[in-house]
Symmetry: C2
Subunit: 156 residues, 2 copies
DNA sequence: ATATAAAACTTTAAGCTTGAAATATCTTGT
DNA sequence: ACAAGATATTTCAAGCTTAAAGTTTTATAT
């Protein structure tokens, strides 16, 4: 998936293949750097950060299924990550609905404060790591990726 | 990491944060689709495909350390994936160098044929999944991502 | 020569990830 | 009311992933 074009691909459609390879390498490179910094500076992980970021946006809480849909990961996956966050006191489950199948998951006070600190650092890192991309290019790129994505939303 | 801008981020540097989020969501969406198709149509996985793609480009073989560097994953990780590929007869290790620490890893004949079939399908999928991106935009985007990446190459 | 360091790789423990199967709960049609 | 189906979540097995520690081999400096 990260194969580079040593024998540079050419022909119809090769530009898209090349784009995909670059896209993947870029995101993996950044992801690796973020993972390392999250570990070193905050002793946490990217999946934990993802979950906390989603919950931070939803103070009233989220269902497990909402979380997994939003984060684009499987539901079984979210269970494990939330389990660990709960055991660390950063997240709480509240099974107090009318519907007893669901559990409302939200950040604890401790989790909220912890996340705020991490998020501030995170935003700085992104600014640094993408520093060479002009704000103008950033907006242009974002637009392209958005239009690409809308093509994809709501498939399957 | 995939947090979307519900309370749309604004302020200095927010364009880069938004770009990163879009980048990540795009690559995860495509990756998920590829993973599913690789499983369904070829009963294989993305990591296996990555390793085989790297080896396909290097008929003479690659060292384990070259593989892990190229694929941007840890060395211990590659060991496991190659182990499984070897046990399936798709890849072979040859520890026959002057340097007896290294092992030259390469595709077997069976592995080469298997990969060729998968790669053909894969290229078609990418063309389909990125179909809405014009060849022109694809080239432009690739250029931006490349220049971004060169900013990153050879850090740490 | 021989200790010391460096390099290539593997092993290990912990955590992440998926897809499928299992549980529990709710909803619907009769 | 009750069976049948749909939903929400967890559990499970297998595989992926990393960082750190361990092994074997090679290179280097006395």
């Amino acid at each position: 998936m990260v194969a580079g074009p040593l024998p540079a691909p050419s022909g119809p459609g090769k530009d898209r293949l090349r784009l995909w390879i670059r896209l993947l390498r870029a995101s993996r490179t950044i992801e690796a750097e973020l993972r390392e910094r999250l570990k070193k500076d905050f002793n946490t992980t990217l999946p934990r950060f993802d979950v906390m970021a989603a919950l931070y946006r939803a103070p009233e809480g989220m269902l497990m299924s909402d979380l997994s849909r939003f984060l684009l990961v499987s539901n079984g996956n979210v269970t494990g990550i939330v389990d660990r966050l709960v055991s660390e006191g950063l997240v709480a489950r509240a099974r107090r609905n009318g519907d007893r199948r669901t559990s409302m998951v939200r950040l604890t006070e401790e989790g909220t404060q912890a996340f705020a600190a991490i998020a501030a650092a995170h935003e700085g890192w992104i600014g640094e790591l993408l520093g060479k991309v002009s704000e103008d290019d950033a907006r242009r790129l974002t637009g392209m990726l958005t239009s690409f994505r809308s093509n994809w939303e709501g498939r399957e």
